[in-house]
């Protein structure tokens, strides 16, 4: 109670001080609108499965640690941490002055409740539970100290605790709202929830009590922005027009052509936000003819000019991706970049060596034509373009390629049943272990339908290795194997092309690529 009153007093004083020095001070009444590209599935960090929810969550919820854009782990809700010698127990010391938006105090018990909520079967958690890996138990060892325990050593945990899907929710809200938690998010973040209209907008307002900012974001205390409205505008042209007309001060997922054109105008700031993980890539179906033949898979890698693909599909605004992991990620291997240069002649030679013959301009083997099916989600802006650009390069070397645009349920079914040769998609992650979900037998995302005991063993080693130098070596070997088997076609880097008005400054992002507005200000 006592701390509550003094807290209020402090806020009152600071507001006074600022209204006194009007000239240079940031506009504390600023309201901004952000052109948001995708509808919101849920605002519950535990149950969402969408990459685009991450940036919304990072502004409402805090995580135990903060991940800087270059993957340094900084204190946020936890001030200190240590890992036991056997790698099974992570001990955290928590801040003692943190309150949720609903007034509930944050303590070790809150962390325990959150882990319990995520691991509860009834919650049906998606990304969040995957991020916890084998570490599914939390024990409060004091009022502000907590241990997270793992069944097997799990090196990715600390970094993954800084991803917004593991944001801490108010235990009181979890009980109060039950199934409706996704419509009533209550966290400890720099902004608190105001309203949400499905398919229209999400409005959040400044958390006046906020003063536990991550050290590296360059701002202390509550945000300067009073209110943020994330307006959902799925049509890219409409989003661009709204932004250019000044009706929004920031927008995400800017189409490449507009991105290039707007960089020539001095009214805007361009912020390319790298989204780490596996980038935009295509799993290559290793079970279905003709990509069940490794010669075909390798030929595909040689046949595609990735520079040309990004030029065609994204107006060259984004760099191509050449290895399984994205640059800047732990475990990235630069030497793999040159493994498959663009070389149509080599693609044809590879097919010839593999026993294929060219007839009437198309390759065939045992009387069966080399014919590939490229699927893409029809409602996406980017994937159909990528599929067409890839199709163009495959046809050039005599590989027949048919593009099929499918609505998402049909697209998912085709992936799971293996009714496609390859399909462009994205997967995000902050640790190289993200690859294991895609290339281990039995995993949901094993859409390449590929399995290899050697690969499985490497994934296991990588998860359990505590020494980071040894870990890097494991992931480099593993990526080399993936590329050698050519079950993954890296296409382009995953970047959220964010544009802001010149007046809006301080927009940054957390490691992994989640736009953060806690340090932003709007000039008059």
């Amino acid at each position: 109670m006592k701390t509550g009153i003094s807290g209020l007093l402090l806020v009152g004083l600071s507001t006074l001080a600022i209204s006194g020095a009007q000239a240079q001070a940031p506009n504390k009444n600023a309201k901004i609108t952000v052109g948001w590209a995708e509808p919101i599935d849920t605002l519950n960090p535990a149950t969402t499965g969408a990459r685009n929810q991450g940036p919304l969550l990072v502004n409402i919820f805090d995580t135990l640690v903060w991940l800087t854009p270059d993957f340094k782990v900084e204190p946020l809700l936890a001030t200190k941490w240590s890992v036991s010698a056997d790698g099974l127990t992570y001990s955290f010391t928590l801040r003692e002055d943190v309150k949720f938006h609903d007034g509930t105090a944050f303590d070790a018990e809150s962390v325990v409740e959150n882990i319990k909520y995520i691991t509860n079967k009834d919650t049906a958690a998606k990304v969040s539970i995957a991020l916890l890996g084998p570490c599914k138990e939390a024990v409060a060892t004091g009022k502000f100290t907590v241990d997270i325990k793992c069944a097997t050593p799990y090196a990715p945990l600390l970094r993954q605790l800084g991803v917004p899907y593991l944001g801490m929710q108010s235990p009181a809200a979890i009980v109060k709202y039950g199934k409706d938690l996704g419509l009533n998010p209550v966290g400890t973040g720099p902004y608190s929830f105001v309203s949400y209209e499905p398919n229209q907008s999400l409005v959040v307002k400044r958390n006046e009590a906020y003063n536990w900012n991550p050290p590296s974001v360059g701002h202390k205390g509550p945000p300067n922005i009073a209110e943020v409205k994330f307006q959902i505008v799925t049509n890219p042209q409409a989003r661009v027009s709204q932004f250019q007309a000044g009706q929004s001060q920031m927008m995400q997922q800017t189409p490449g052509v507009h991105w290039n054109a707007m960089q020539k105008m001095d009214r805007f700031t361009a912020i390319p936000v790298p989204i780490t993980g596996l980038g935009i890539f295509a799993p290559v179906n290793a079970k279905k003819f003709p990509t069940d033949d490794v010669a075909v898979r390798r030929a595909i890698q040689y046949a595609i000019d990735k520079k040309g693909v990004v030029q065609l599909a994204e107006a060259g605004a984004i760099q191509p991706s050449l290895t399984p992991l994205q640059p800047s990620m732990f475990g990235y291997d630069k030497s793999l970049e040159t493994m498959y240069p663009y070389d149509p002649a080599k693609a044809e030679a590879t097919l010839k060596e593999g026993g294929w013959t060219k007839k009437d301009g198309f390759w065939e083997k045992d009387g069966k034509r080399l014919s590939l099916t490229l699927t893409a989600i029809s409602t996406s802006t980017s994937y159909p373009l990528l599929a067409q650009a890839i199709q163009n390069y495959l046809q050039k070397v005599g590989m027949e390629a048919n593009v099929q645009l499918l609505a998402s349920p049909a697209w998912l079914a085709a992936n799971i049943n293996g009714d496609m040769s390859l399909t462009p998609l994205q997967y995000i992650g902050v640790d190289p272990d993200a690859l294991s979900g895609w290339f281990t037998a039995g995993q949901y995302f094993n859409w390449s339908h590929y399995s290899n005991p050697k690969l499985d063993a490497l994934f296991k080693q990588g998860r359990e290795e505590g020494d980071s130098t040894k870990r890097v070596a494991i992931y480099q070997e593993l990526q080399k194997l993936l590329m050698d088997e050519a079950v993954m076609l890296p296409i382009r880097q995953n970047v959220d092309l964010v544009m802001t008005s010149k007046k809006l400054t301080g927009v940054t992002y957390s490691g992994g690529g989640f736009e953060y507005l806690g340090a932003a200000s709007l000039a008059d």
Partner: protein, 303 residues
């Protein structure tokens, strides 16, 4: 059986040269009168012009409509690319003309298929009547109550995307439209004396339907076919626009419109040219439809 086959011969009027000449003359007069009809002739001019552009001109175009060129993306209209290029550097002129051909053939197939199926169902239901006819028509009502485009989406979801499936899907929407019109007209004609006479003369069911009923409901079918051709073209492009019609990279007006929608402020030409073609086609077809209705529909009282 042999009897019934012979009897109509007795009824048949000997072709009288004078009668034939009058008939030919009155037909020519009808054509002339139709051409004087302003909207009809304007519509015909537009449709002929577009058909020439879409069917004849592509024979002389050597540019590959699917050839991509990373060095020539988003070129505005120039002497090399008369309509400019799209995001893939593909020549828009070739794409729009060949795409228009696809759209026109698809929409024609839609109405012809729909008309054929709908007419068959309608005539059978109307001619047979009774419980069977009632049953068929209630099923048709059920289909009619379904929102058209939703029905088309459901059909493509089941059959998968593609031009042929898209055409089938939209044709399904048109079946009840034709069936209802034809059923009504058939019921009206069924009891008329000349049909009775044909029946008394022992004409087979098929002959009665084809020779005596169909010609009398034909004018309605023709009018309906033209009026729905424009709507069918819009639906075909709509399916292409949402990616469930023709699959890339095959050009089609709806798919090209979709290609351009994300760049409309930077590259207006990708959207404007196919849009213009589509609008002109629909306007042309509707003018023809209006004109034909004025000319053929006996229920319309012309001043």
């Amino acid at each position: 059986m042999t009897d019934s086959a012979q009897i109509p011969a007795v009824f048949a009027v000997e072709p009288n040269p004078a009668v034939l000449a009058t008939r030919r003359w009155s037909r020519r007069r009808a054509v002339l009168r139709a051409l004087r009809h302003r909207s009809l002739s304007l519509g015909l001019v537009i449709c002929t012009m577009l058909a020439f552009l879409a069917f004849v001109l592509p024979l002389f175009i050597t540019v590959d409509p699917v050839a991509q060129d990373p060095m020539a993306t988003f070129s505005p209209p120039t002497a090399v690319h008369l309509m400019g290029t799209d995001a893939f550097g593909r020549d828009l002129l070739a794409r729009v003309l060949i795409g228009a051909r696809t759209t026109m053939i698809a929409s024609l197939s839609v109405v012809l298929l729909g008309a054929l199926a709908g007419t068959t169902v309608g005539i059978v239901a109307g001619y047979v009547g009774g419980a069977v006819g009632f049953g068929i028509m209630r099923l048709i009502d059920l289909l009619l109550a379904f929102p058209g485009i939703l029905l088309a989406l459901t059909v493509t979801a089941i059959l998968g995307p593609g031009l042929v499936n898209g055409v089938l899907a939209i044709a399904v929407i048109l079946v009840p439209v034709f069936a209802r019109l034809v059923e009504g007209a058939t019921v009206e004609v069924r009891g008329l004396p000349y049909v009775e006479a044909a029946r008394c003369a022992g004409a087979s069911q098929a002959r009665i339907i084809l020779r005596y009923i169909l010609p009398n409901v034909m004018s309605g079918i023709i009018v309906l076919t033209t009026t729905w051709l424009g709507i069918a073209a819009l639906w075909v492009t709509a399916l292409g626009f949402i990616g469930l019609g023709v699959q890339p990279p095959t050009p089609e007006l709806g798919a090209i419109l979709n290609d351009g929608q994300n760049y409309i402020t930077l590259a207006w030409w990708i959207t404007v040219f196919p849009g213009l073609f589509l609008s002109l086609f629909v306007v042309g077809v509707n003018l023809v439809g209006d004109g034909l209705r004025d000319e053929l529909d006996p229920t319309l009282n012309r001043g």
